[in-house]
């Protein structure tokens, strides 16, 4: 079973991201379970959502304590919440940031785990370019598909279409596709930052 934990803040579509991921897995013929851990339900408050994917029906209902994949939608959480809690030693980590780990103060943590499975993606920047709003959730799912290969970009696109439809879906799919390519490029070249504009990385 594959277990994904998504951290973000209220208003960033954290719960929607987990739901879309479950739809993508379902579209690929797998079983999936997505659920939120609602807290204070305020814009900006820390929010966690979970997604399990398996080839068999999933019956456990506990929160995900030992994730295979972490998606961090908001890098300001890194020093507020123990987001790495329980992460498997060979786990994947995708962080929404234009900065590499050392600049985020994560170099030590990345070394403890499987470094080549850690990547940052400037998802907010990509979202602003395509959607005009800082909503990184669908963008990060595109990056997730490229980083892990655990769902396909087609599945992600289908889930976005299912959830939003119309123009909003079209723009989100374009953004997710850009993220997918950026992460694929970065992992090929061994870079630890994907999708940051030239200006930002200089």
């Amino acid at each position: 079973m594959l277990q994904v934990r998504i951290h973000g803040r209220g208003g960033q579509g954290v719960v929607t991201a987990a739901e879309m991921l479950s739809i993508a897995a379902f579209e690929e013929g797998r079983h999936a379970q997505a659920f939120p851990s609602f807290g204070s339900e305020r814009t900006g408050a820390p929010v966690v959502a979970f997604c399990r994917i398996d080839d068999q029906p999933i019956q456990i209902r506990e929160p995900i304590l030992a994730p295979d994949v972490l998606i961090i939608q908001d890098a300001t959480l890194l020093h507020q919440v123990d987001v790495f809690q329980g992460l498997k030693l060979d786990g994947y980590v995708l962080i929404n940031s234009r900065h590499p780990f050392d600049e985020l103060g994560l170099e030590d943590i990345a070394e403890r785990f499987c470094r080549e499975r850690f990547i940052t993606l400037s998802a907010t920047e990509i979202a602003l370019r395509h959607l005009g709003r800082p909503l990184p959730n669908a963008v990060l799912l595109g990056g997730f598909a490229a980083l892990t290969g655990l769902v396909g970009l087609d599945g992600v696109a289908h889930a976005i279409e299912h959830k939003f439809g119309g123009e909003i879906a079209r723009r989100n799919i374009a953004a997710a596709t850009e993220a997918y390519e950026a992460v694929a490029d970065a992992t090929r070249s061994g870079a630890s930052v994907a999708g940051a504009s030239q200006e930002a990385t200089e």
């Binding site: 934990r5 719960v15 987990a18 739901e19 479950s22 739809i23 379902f26 579209e27 079983h31 999936a32 379970q33 997505a34 659920f35 939120p36 851990s37 609602f38 807290g39 204070s40 339900e41 408050a45 820390p46 966690v48 029906p57 999933i58 019956q59 456990i60 209902r61 506990e62 929160p63 304590l65 507020q80 919440v81 123990d82 987001v83 809690q85 329980g86």
Partner: protein, 417 residues
């Protein structure tokens, strides 16, 4: 058709397939998405004819439901927590009058302290109100139970609560197999009321009854619940024939045949418990699991038959009778009258406290060694409890408990779950 949807949406679509005439809606978490979904289906015309009423409170929701059911309309509403408490007087009237309303309770804790998360305190507070109470293990079962609930309610002419865990089920996206309209129509005939307010054939419903017949009217409510005990498994069997799925019924045993230890629970925690029981079986423990799917009427004979041969029974419940202990446990003990065995109550998951496999493995291991306290609170933080008790012993004006405990804990937002 297989779909990957939210539990609340699945229930909304399932209720719509039952062709309700009237839906009374008042929002309260975690139930709100269900009536929102039904509102969308009525507005788009997919559910038609149906009158969707936004009422001004839960008390109004149940009162309107009573009126519409008494005039022969198939009637649905949903609530949770304080919402259920607010409608209680009307809840008792609905069952006392024998009106087959179906209501979802998206199980949630009751304040104070205010808490929006899941436990079974709300529906358990209404265990004596005369409604049938069915508990769902999964979203598939929740949607299936609503279809069975209308059939059962209308046959018996009594109301049915379908209890599903708030957030854990209502807000979970998972795969469900949504039946088609023809299947539901084949299973659920049009509503034929036993009593109806009809201007062309006037009757009154709701007489005042004195000591001369009150006991008899109340006994008849009990007699009907006993009849429901027989009908619930039959309806589940018919359901399985048409829909090809096992859902509902009174109890569902899992690996109890030769079990020395049997865990009893209800609702969505059954899934996690099933994993834990299978893990312990792999380790050689003779352990089994009993899911109580119908809590009212309580299946005394079935519970006794499933548990009577065990050495020990652990009732794991998300409800708590302050000053006594377990709620479900009390009923399970009654079912086991005269049988000698070790009985344990584990109160777990109050106010949304996560029930993890690790904690279950630990507590069940202690039970097997008969080292468990008769009443145990799973993962209780004794540190902050004792700190507060010390504070109270030391200072008269020790302040409000909830605020003190939160201060002791520090920043809650820093926790992962």
């Amino acid at each position: 058709m297989k779909k990957q949807i939210e539990g609340s949406r699945a229930v909304a679509e399932s209720v719509a397939l039952c062709r309700p005439d009237v839906i009374c809606a008042y929002p309260i978490s975690p139930q709100t998405h269900i009536v929102e979904g039904l509102g969308e289906l009525v507005k788009s015309g997919e559910l038609s004819p149906c009158e969707f009423l936004n009422v001004e409170s839960e008390f109004a929701a149940m009162s309107v439901a009573i009126g519409s059911s008494a005039t022969g309309g198939r009637t649905y509403t949903a609530t949770a927590s304080q919402g259920l408490l607010f409608m209680v007087e009307a809840v008792y009237n609905a069952s006392g009058l024998g009106l087959p309303i179906v209501m979802t309770v998206a199980n949630r804790a009751i304040g104070a302290p205010i808490n929006i998360w899941n436990d079974h305190s709300d529906s358990m507070s209404q265990r004596d109100c005369g409604w049938i109470q069915l508990f769902a293990e999964s979203n598939q079962e929740a949607l299936d139970l609503h279809i069975q609930a209308f059939r059962l309610a209308e046959e018996m002419s009594m109301p049915v609560m379908v209890c599903m865990d708030g957030f854990i089920l209502t807000h979970a996206y998972e795969q469900v197999d949504m039946p088609d309209q023809a299947q539901v129509d084949a299973f659920l005939p049009p509503y034929e009321p036993r009593q109806v307010l009809d201007p062309d054939d006037p009757v009154s419903i709701g007489a005042m009854v004195g000591p001369e017949a009150f006991m008899e009217v109340r006994y008849l409510a009990h007699a009907k619940q006993l009849m429901a005990l027989a009908r619930i498994p039959e309806i589940a069997a018919e359901f399985e024939q048409i829909f090809g799925r096992n859902a509902g019924g009174l109890v569902r045993p899992h690996r109890v045949e030769d079990a020395e230890t049997i865990v009893v629970a209800l609702g969505s925690v059954i899934g996690t418990l099933q994993e834990v029981v299978d893990t312990m079986r792999d380790q050689g423990e003779k352990i089994g699991l009993l899911s109580i799917r119908a809590f009212r009427p309580f299946p005394l004979a079935e519970v006794r038959a499933a548990l009577g041969g065990a050495k020990r029974v652990v009732v794991l419940e998300k409800s708590f009778s302050v000053g006594l202990g377990g709620v479900v446990s009390t009923d399970v003990r009654l079912a086991l009258s005269g049988i000698q065995l070790h009985g344990y109550t584990v109160v777990a998951g109050l106010g949304g406290r996560a029930i993890t496999q690790d904690s279950l493995l630990r507590v069940l291991g202690e039970a097997i060694e008969d080292k468990l306290e008769a009443l145990t609170f799973l993962d209780l933080d004794w540190d902050i409890v004792n700190r507060h008790l010390a504070r109270e012993a030391e200072t008269r004006r020790s302040g409000p408990i909830a605020e003190n405990l939160l201060r002791d804990l520090g920043v809650v937002g820093a926790k992962v779950y």
